[in-house]
Symmetry: C2
Subunit: 141 residues, 2 copies
């Protein structure tokens, strides 16, 4: 393993490979802890520190997306194209959200205030479609 810069290819150690594959396999935006637990059975000597280290390396290399969650654990996403996330307050699942209106924020702020924006992190909280409809079934909102 040589390179660590953004977007570079990482060589795959055994542990890195199973960790990467696990995140790619499920679109559930798992936390490091969840990745660890889901792999621990078949890999009894996997350690949590290794999971954290590899998830961070993979996201630095641009192969995964790290989703910072304001009031909870970071999550990781195999989808690396530009998109955002909503966390449901009821079921706690994380949903992908397309929002191209955010693309203009850096330029807007530069023009208005003179600051240069390098990273836009958005956290949406709400209630997902499924939870909304099961709420409605109870004629309660």
């Amino acid at each position: 393993m040589k390179q660590k810069g953004q977007g570079r290819i990482l060589n795959f150690s055994r542990q890195r490979e199973i960790i990467y594959n696990q995140v790619m396999k499920y679109p559930t935006h798992p936390t490091a802890e969840e990745v660890y637990r889901s792999l621990k059975n078949d890999n009894p000597n996997l350690s949590l520190g290794t999971v954290y280290r590899n998830l961070n390396q993979l996201s630095e290399a641009g192969m995964l997306l790290k989703i910072p969650i304001a009031d909870g654990s970071d999550r990781f996403d195999g989808r690396t194209d530009n998109h955002y996330h909503m966390i449901c307050e009821k079921c706690l699942r994380v949903f992908d959200v397309e929002l191209n209106c955010l693309d203009s924020i850096p330029q807007t702020v530069i023009e208005a205030e003179g600051h240069r924006i390098t990273r836009v992190t958005l956290n949406l909280k709400g209630v997902c479609r499924e939870c909304l409809s099961s709420e409605n079934n109870k004629t309660e909102q």
Copy 2:
């Protein structure tokens, strides 16, 4: 102190009052730790837990705004109207940013995905105007 609901009036205990006043006094978006340190000299028996508790109570009551920072401590803001924040990677100061384009996000997501959005949290990272211009003075970017 009776009420805890959103926007209700809180009675002011002595400690709550000095904590609230301190946040209102400075527009620096201090962390709980910073509020604690800035008050500790004049109030030697103030405890950090009290600062946390009161800042959270005040923000639940709508008298302060709690700003979650993805990779650091939460910050508190005496300005409670709708606005957003940029943190400068160089000087680490937090700046207020006006961004009315975000107001339409809840409706957009409802229409596109069917989820109901209840809270929009934005974290902007970048380089502030002052740091940008001092960078330019070194003919280096």
